[in-house]
């Protein structure tokens, strides 16, 4: 499987719908301080099912909804979708059972939405599913729920300063 695209609307500083096509190789994101680079990383962690507001730097999960600016109203909801190329049939886990046989899908779309009141929904290929279904779908792929494959901006220090018993979690998650 590989990621084809990531689209965001109303998510953090991405008030307007934005689509990033992801290449098979190396994608590099650059820009000034505060422009939104780490927000892209947060969007990916978030749509893949992170449960921790802290992982996306918020106090509550609803903090990811675009909060507005002096010249722009706040959004009512945040929506992120990833399109995964599944032509290799890699994604065939239980999670897609609720959306018919996964192997049949050469393209899998996972989406997550949250309203300002905190009410959240997930979709797989357009069908409403539970958070658990997304977890099961992705668990086969080596993507744990704490998403050890996403190394955030302060995370190197976190791993270094962690107690030895905390550090094992990175291996447990990947195992």
């Amino acid at each position: 499987m590989f990621l084809r695209s990531l689209s965001m609307r109303g998510f953090k500083s991405f008030a307007d719908r934005t689509v990033l096509e992801v290449e098979p190789g190396i994608t590099v994101i650059v820009g000034p301080n505060g422009s939104g680079k780490s927000n892209v990383v947060d969007a990916l962690s978030w749509v893949l099912g992170t449960n921790s507001a802290k992982k996306v730097r918020g106090g509550a999960m609803s903090d990811v909804v675009f909060a507005g600016s002096p010249t722009r109203n706040r959004s009512n909801r945040a929506h992120v979708e990833i399109v995964i190329d599944n032509t290799d049939g890699y994604l065939s886990g239980a999670g897609l059972a609720t959306a018919d046989s996964a192997g049949a899908f050469s393209e899998v779309r996972v989406a997550r939405t949250i309203q300002t009141d905190g009410e959240a929904t997930y979709q797989i290929n357009g069908e409403d599913v539970r958070a658990l279904d997304v977890q099961e779908l992705l668990s086969d792929t080596g993507l744990g729920r704490e998403l050890h494959t996403i190394v955030g901006q302060g995370q190197l220090d976190e791993i270094l300063n962690a107690k030895p018993e905390e550090r094992r979690r990175y291996i447990e998650e990947a195992a």
């Binding site: 096509e21 190396i26 590099v28 994101i29 422009s35 927000n39 993507l143 030895p164 094992r168």
Partner: protein, 165 residues
């Protein structure tokens, strides 16, 4: 469960020794299980000896040495238990030019086996991009994105100049 963890730990520990030597040529690093005989509660200690130096506690290593050591740990996990993609957000911040090149070599080695998304301020890190996304914040506090495909070398060096933080 203990067996699953032990197998993963052994694989990661082996990869860590190899990856450490790639980012610290002539140095030596290893992972050690500590604190408890029970595999379910034992912790993981990281031992690092940069080239030409004596084994020393992790806290005495420099900022860049510590970055590189924990990056070797992270990449060891990626190699022992591969995933389809990896995302790295400004992991190169503390590295000097020489160490940055060593890191980029490790990152490039994943190309073809996984997708990599790299966020950076460093010009040298931009050079390994297949696609470069330039991000800016608009006057209304909304992010805009401009994409460049960089397989065309001529366009590449020009855009690197424009896009650099």
């Amino acid at each position: 469960i203990r067996a699953v963890f032990k197998a993963a730990f052994d694989d990661v520990a082996r990869e860590f020794e190899l990856t450490f030597e790639t980012v610290f040529p002539g140095g030596h690093g290893r992972l050690v299980l500590t604190g408890s005989d029970d595999l379910l509660t034992a912790g993981i200690e990281v031992e690092a000896r940069p080239p030409g130096k004596k084994v020393t506690r992790l806290s005495l290593l420099s900022g860049g040495e510590r970055s590189l050591t924990v990056l070797a740990f992270v990449f060891a996990i990626f190699r022992a238990r591969p995933s389809p993609f990896y995302v790295l957000d400004e992991v190169d911040a503390a590295l000097d030019d020489v160490n940055l090149q060593r890191l980029l070599k490790v990152i490039r080695s994943f190309r073809g086996h996984a997708q990599i998304i790299l966020v950076t301020h460093q010009k040298r890190s931009m050079e390994i991009a297949d696609v470069l996304y330039g991000i800016t914040m608009g006057p209304d506090a909304v992010t805009k994105v401009v994409a460049e495909r960089l397989r065309d070398q001529a366009a590449k060096s020009q855009q690197l100049e424009e896009r650099a933080s």
